[in-house]
Amino acid sequence: MKDKSLVRRITGHRLFMPLVCLAIVLLANLLRQPDFFKITVKDGTLYGYVIDVINRGSELVILAVGMTLVVSSSAGTDISVGAIMAVAAAICCFILSGGQVSVNEYANPYVLGVVIALVLGAICGAWNGFLVAKLRIQPMVATLILFTAGRGIAQLITNGQITYIRVPEYKVLGGSISGLPLPVPFFVSLAVVILAYILLKRTSLGLYIEAVGINPKASRLVGIKSSLIIFLTYAFCGLCAGIAGLVASSRIYSADANNVGLNMELDAILAVALGGNSLGGGKFFLMGSVIGAYTIQALTTTLYAMGVSADQIPVYKAIVVVIIVSLQSEELRKWFKKKFATKKVVESEVA
């Protein structure tokens, strides 16, 4: 009896399904190619497919955190995060290179570049927030503006060139430090997740965001500034995109306006959904989104490892996504339960 309730508590937990899905993806690997889980040590850092997943998934995790809040508070998605990543990367490289196409030392202090990039990311987010919260434009349409303009702005900043920062320290954010067992991006994403978690749990912001997302009218009447909350989530999402942009830029020690964060917005939204969050706003599970992000990355890395051609990967991705979301579907579960229940009744009647 007690066991059953424990099982039920575990299976009923909101993170259960997302975790199961991640486990299934990993398990499939174990069967197909056991060396997926082989981890060796190179230069004092761990090395292997699993580490790749953790490493490459970092930007997605960071974006998913911001996206979760946006989805929760405004019942809409921010499709401009990929473009904002490019903008942040561009401004950072522009400042550090002083306008040159390629430099071997910083033209300006590193901190300056990073701070301005993050501020600009937040400003882009704030612009989205202004459109959504103040002008009441539907989120997807509001963010369509920066989605369209973002890469243009990034190109404008870098004058259409890929700007290289060939300074070893610049690669640290997206690389690894010997002595640190895991790549740096993982720690960056960890920091973002912890920061967001503390912000949401130590203050009542999390509650406000959910309330506004579920019923903005009622929230206003209980004294929550709905539009301010929505605005803040977008600004925060922009900030997250800025951080992700810096990591992505550091990986290639350059700003590639066309390709930094390309199509990342879709994966970020997908991560939120795979984490068991409703895109209709309201209740959110931050950890679910994080797990969702790793699930997507695990899938991508797996498919690469299996040698699936990159332009056919989407087919497999689609199939896995459909299976995962179907598994999480309330309706399907109900249907199974009913089938199962009737069977049980029949059995008991026989007995």
Binding site: Y49, S102, Y164, N258, S309, D311
Partner: protein, 314 residues
């Protein structure tokens, strides 16, 4: 220019300027930016041209729209760097009906009627691929490895892009002549550094003994270099892995000078002057060749790269 229509741009203002509409692909790479710059600096008012520039943001639909718009604006010449090779019949016929000559740049067009365009200017991607292959043959011979089993992988460009198709095909031609060459896997890195790096990481985990990496553009080669280093291996002339790349942008010279990259096959983006030459010929009523290759070279670490890079425009 001849006229007939009151709305034509050629009639208004400086009627002695030749109006050229240039439908560019976009600004997706440094190569492309250099290509655009070459056109903008060639077709200036001082040189007797008026350039109407259109950027298609990598979308064919947009280019078709732009060409239709050029026709309505009554330009004298239309230059197109097609996003893709296919699907131009209808709109080119519209241009033909209006009597506007069309010149292609960079990529070719697959049309049933060759008279729909005047000529094509661009690099020879197949030759680039072959050049890369032949360089490798020589290089291996030099190192005395010509008899050995050589394992290689390819980071392909965006599948379907002319550069990808041509370079893959060209290299495959050379590959077929060398029985000891063993192509382990081809995978697309979509012409980007980040993807190139990701794919290379995956290759390195799968195969322990990669000798050669063919990167179908420089950016992917940079990604591959990082991945190789992260895996604790070395590359370049003194390293475990030989890397051949294409395009030869300035950053590639930096990589070769740094000793990370072995060889870069040039893909020349400076088409503007060549197109201007052709237009002058057409204005003079002369015939022009249908296919016009621009000159392209190959660079490797045996050359005096420091000097060469100073002369490079892109």
């Amino acid at each position: 220019a001849d006229n007939g229509d009151s709305g034509d741009a050629s009639d208004s203002g400086d009627s002695d300027l030749i109006t050229v509409g240039y439908a560019q692909v976009g600004a997706e790479s440094d190569w492309r930016t250099a290509n655009t710059e070459s056109f903008k600096s060639t077709f200036t008012k001082e040189n007797g041209y008026e350039l109407i520039f259109d950027d298609a943001q990598q979308k064919q639909e947009n280019q078709i729209k732009a060409i239709r718009s050029f026709i309505q604006q009554g330009v004298d010449y239309i230059v197109v760097a097609p996003v893709v090779e296919t699907g131009w019949e209808t709109v080119l016929e519209e241009a033909k009906a209006e009597g506007i000559p069309v010149i292609l740049s960079d990529r070719q067009m697959d049309v049933s009627d060759e008279s729909l365009y005047e000529c094509w200017v661009g690099g020879n991607f197949i030759k680039e691929g072959e050049d890369g292959g032949h360089w490798l043959e020589d290089y291996l011979k030099e190192k005395g490895m010509d008899g050995e089993e050589i394992n290689m992988v390819t980071l392909q460009g965006t599948i379907g892009a002319s550069a990808q198709v041509g370079r893959t095909e060209g290299f495959a031609n050379v590959l077929a002549e060398n029985d000891n060459w063993n192509m382990l896997e081809l995978q697309t890195g979509e012409f980007t550094q980040a993807k190139g790096q990701e794919v290379m990481e995956s290759f390195l985990k799968k195969y322990d003994d990669i000798d050669v990496v063919i990167a179908e553009n420089d950016n992917m080669a940079f990604g591959a270099i990082d991945a190789i280093k992260a895996a604790g291996k070395t590359c370049g002339p003194d390293g475990d892995i030989t890397i051949i790349s294409f395009d030869a942008v300035k950053a590639a010279f930096d990589a070769m000078i740094a000793g990370d990259l072995n060889c870069a096959v040039e893909c020349n983006p400076l088409h503007g002057p060549r197109v201007a030459e052709i237009i002058q010929k057409l204005e003079a009523g002369e015939e022009v060749d249908k296919i016009q290759y621009v000159d392209e070279e190959l660079f490797d670490t045996s050359m005096d790269l420091e000097e060469i890079v100073k002369t490079r425009a892109y």
